[in-house]
């Protein structure tokens, strides 16, 4: 599904590892998924340095995907991050948990767009 959409989408596993982002997200991340590969829950926040609009760093659990994963609820926020190309971007993010019918957590999806 994410592969076939033109809106940037990232997918995380239940541990917060970044396991996929689609081609539209590659432009935002400043690198292709092939270049990045899967990034651990400690690697990608370090690489992209997500922060609030005032520059305050945002820890994983307070990022939209963190809220989706750890609180298991959808959320929307505006944040900034630096792509691997060094460009600072401000984005709107909606993240929601990937939960099955038995309420089991499979991960989280982040849909985002440039402001």
């Amino acid at each position: 599904m994410a592969t076939n959409l033109s809106i940037p989408i990232s997918v995380l596993d239940p541990d917060g590892n970044l396991v996929f982002f689609n081609r539209s997200a590659e432009a935002m991340h400043g690198m292709t998924f092939e270049e990045a590969g899967e990034l651990s829950a400690t690697e990608w926040p370090t690489l992209f340095a997500p922060r609030a609009s005032d520059g305050t760093p945002i820890p994983l659990e307070e990022l939209p995907v963190g809220v989706a994963l750890f609180e298991r609820r959808p959320v929307h926020k505006t944040i900034q991050f630096t792509g691997a190309d060094g460009v600072l971007r401000e984005i709107s993010v909606t993240a929601f948990p990937l939960m099955g019918r038995e309420q089991e957590l499979f991960g989280a999806v982040a849909i985002f767009w440039h402001l």
Binding site: M1, N4, L5, S6, I7, R73, P74, H76, S92, F96
Partner: protein
């Protein structure tokens, strides 16, 4: 004619994939096609809308919007074009906002809504997907 058949197939594939994706999620989602028809909403959305998709069936999205009587959080009525779904459809870009709806069960709810256009690999517009959730 061959191109027309191919385009119809491709449109169907994007909407089928979107529906399959939505049907497996616990987050409320509805999908409208490029002709502004509500073509699906998932089980979690039924709890907010107050009716099942089986009961509603495919209907014009404006009819769906009128049924839910969207309002701004201050109570002002919202036109379809002012809602995230309406913006995603008309302007073909993602949109997010908070609004109030009255479900078909008569309950008024404040919801957060994110809507985005569904473009296929060929950049053809196939409709919109709308993710929404009740705000605490």
């Amino acid at each position: 004619m061959e191109q027309s058949v191919r385009q119809r197939r491709q449109k169907s594939l994007v909407l089928i994939l979107a529906r399959e994706f939505a049907s497996n999620l616990a987050t409320p989602i509805y999908i409208a096609d490029a002709d502004e028809r509500l073509v699906y909403f998932n089980e979690p959305a039924e709890q907010i809308a107050g009716r099942s998709f089986a009961e509603t069936g495919e209907i014009p999205i404006r009819e769906w919007a009128e049924m839910l009587a969207p309002q701004a959080t201050d109570g002002q009525p919202l036109q379809r074009e002012q809602t995230p779904g309406g913006i995603a459809f008309a302007v073909r870009r993602p949109a997010h906002g908070s609004l109030c709806i009255t479900g078909l069960d008569g309950k008024r709810r404040e919801i957060a809504t994110t809507a985005f256009p569904l473009f296929g690999p060929d950049e053809e517009f196939h409709g919109i997907m709308v993710i929404f959730w009740e705000q605490a």
